[in-house]
Symmetry: C2
Subunit: 280 residues, 2 copies
């Protein structure tokens, strides 16, 4: 199978490595709006060839869209406008409501499969790509009934071979759950970094005193603003909903501590501990 990856950053580059590792694709074409990204992807062996978007849509059996969330709806339409009826297009974005809405009436909608693999790191660009990030993580496939069965089957087979369990949802459900479970962690971490940078003026102390706990909690604050700002914007209502709840939970904590209500603090912490039952 000949694959084209549009957007050869962390996600597209890692997917290219996975396709290669599991013998799913013998030729991988790469497209990126940044010449230094496609060049780096070629050097690192993520892709076999740098091509234009037109060459990609002309030649590839599977076209993978792995660009930032805000670019996906238009890009998906442009790609669907050009492909034939045996080619398959999939995206790997974090947000689906607008994308699925934009695609809904396209005559080639059936060739498209909307997917969200639940993996990423705080790093970005082709040099951040790793071969086995996706393996073992869940992938969400959205609005599967809108995809042709052969297109859906191909994408399911690719993800299954990589070792990713598949969940099916509609776009709205996926955006809601992603806000609750993925997007809020990033905001928490960005805000924690800003808090510590604001209060702890002595950078040396941050470096010296950071234990493993602080490091893991603040890790996502290194994530790319270019990736995450469009995700938060496109998922605004769900993200605001969960962000308001998060602020509320911190205020409960604050009030218990102000009142020196140690029993109350223990009770909320023990409730929080139940996350360990779900994520051992």
């Amino acid at each position: 199978m000949k694959t084209a990856i549009i957007g050869v950053g962390l996600i597209g580059g890692s997917f290219a490595l996975s396709l290669r590792k599991f013998g799913l694709s013998n030729e991988i074409l790469g497209v990126d709006s940044l010449a230094r990204h496609s060049q780096k992807a070629l050097e690192l062996g993520l892709i076999n060839k740098i091509v234009t978007l037109e060459q990609a849509t002309d030649q590839a059996d599977l076209i993978v869209l792995a660009t930032p969330a805000d670019t996906l709806p238009l890009l998906a339409v442009k790609v669907l406008n050009k492909i034939g009826n045996t080619q398959v297009v999939m995206d790997m974005g974090s947000i689906k409501t607008e994308l699925c809405e934009v695609m809904a009436q396209h005559p080639a909608r059936g060739r498209f499969v909307a997917t969200h693999p639940m993996w990423g790191t705080e790093f970005s660009g082709p040099q951040a790509a790793v071969a086995d990030g996706f393996t073992g993580r869940t992938v969400v496939i959205c609005n599967r009934e809108e995809s042709d069965s052969d297109a859906l089957q191909l994408v399911e087979q690719v993800y299954t071979t990589i070792g990713m369990p598949i969940k099916y949802m509609n776009g709205e459900e996926q955006d809601l759950h992603s806000a609750y479970i993925s997007h809020i962690s990033h905001i928490t971490s960005f805000a924690l970094a800003l808090t510590v940078l604001e209060k702890e003026r002595e950078e040396e102390h941050i470096f010296d005193l950071a234990g493993g706990g602080f490091e893991s909690t603040v890790r996502l604050a290194k994530s790319s603003a270019r990736t995450w700002a469009p995700i938060f914007m496109q998922n605004k209502y769900n993200v605001l909903d969960v962000l308001r709840e998060h602020i509320h939970q911190l205020q409960i904590f604050r009030k218990l501590l102000e009142k020196e209500d140690e029993k109350g603090l223990v009770a909320v912490m023990e409730k929080a501990n139940t996350i360990g039952r779900i994520l051992p």
Copy 2:
């Protein structure tokens, strides 16, 4: 050297393993108010013998206090009341202001060294002990001028042998920096777990969709309430100060998103990214 560890949980148990690994102690006595903890520590080979507090203060060259923060001031006084003038006592607690204040006038104050090794995990109890957690992490020694030079030297030598760089601070400074860098991460994580448990009623979705990002940000929410409630209570003013700032930062994020100010969001995220310069 004969060592007694009072409180053979995660911290005391891991310290026992480090002492053994680096050949610092040929006999380790264990004391714990929970019989099942001391029994487990013996079974796991963390300690050589279960003893009473009296036997520990009678026999050990180095007495290590590794019990919860709220128990340390009284325990330290009781132990100092009993020891001779060649024995050394150290604590491993996260909070120092009250402890150092209580100890200040004790005639044996010089035998005591106040320390805070910057390491821990979300697990607790003797079964959570690991041999090399401390190595490579910083330890803070507080109010060193109040310790006898031989006592200080012994404790410095122990930590240096384990591979822990030493920083010196007074108790108030250490509590401030610990609130900023360690304590707030725990509150963030507890509150994130509560947020997700509140909004995401379908536990199956939490389990399926949790990527590495969510897992690392919420990890500390599994931490023991028995350990952390007294730390927050004892460090109340510093913790409230940094918690208010954290809520403020989340509110800035919320307002930018409400106004759909994408440039503003990018600006705060890029500011947060600078944490990566300090913690690469």
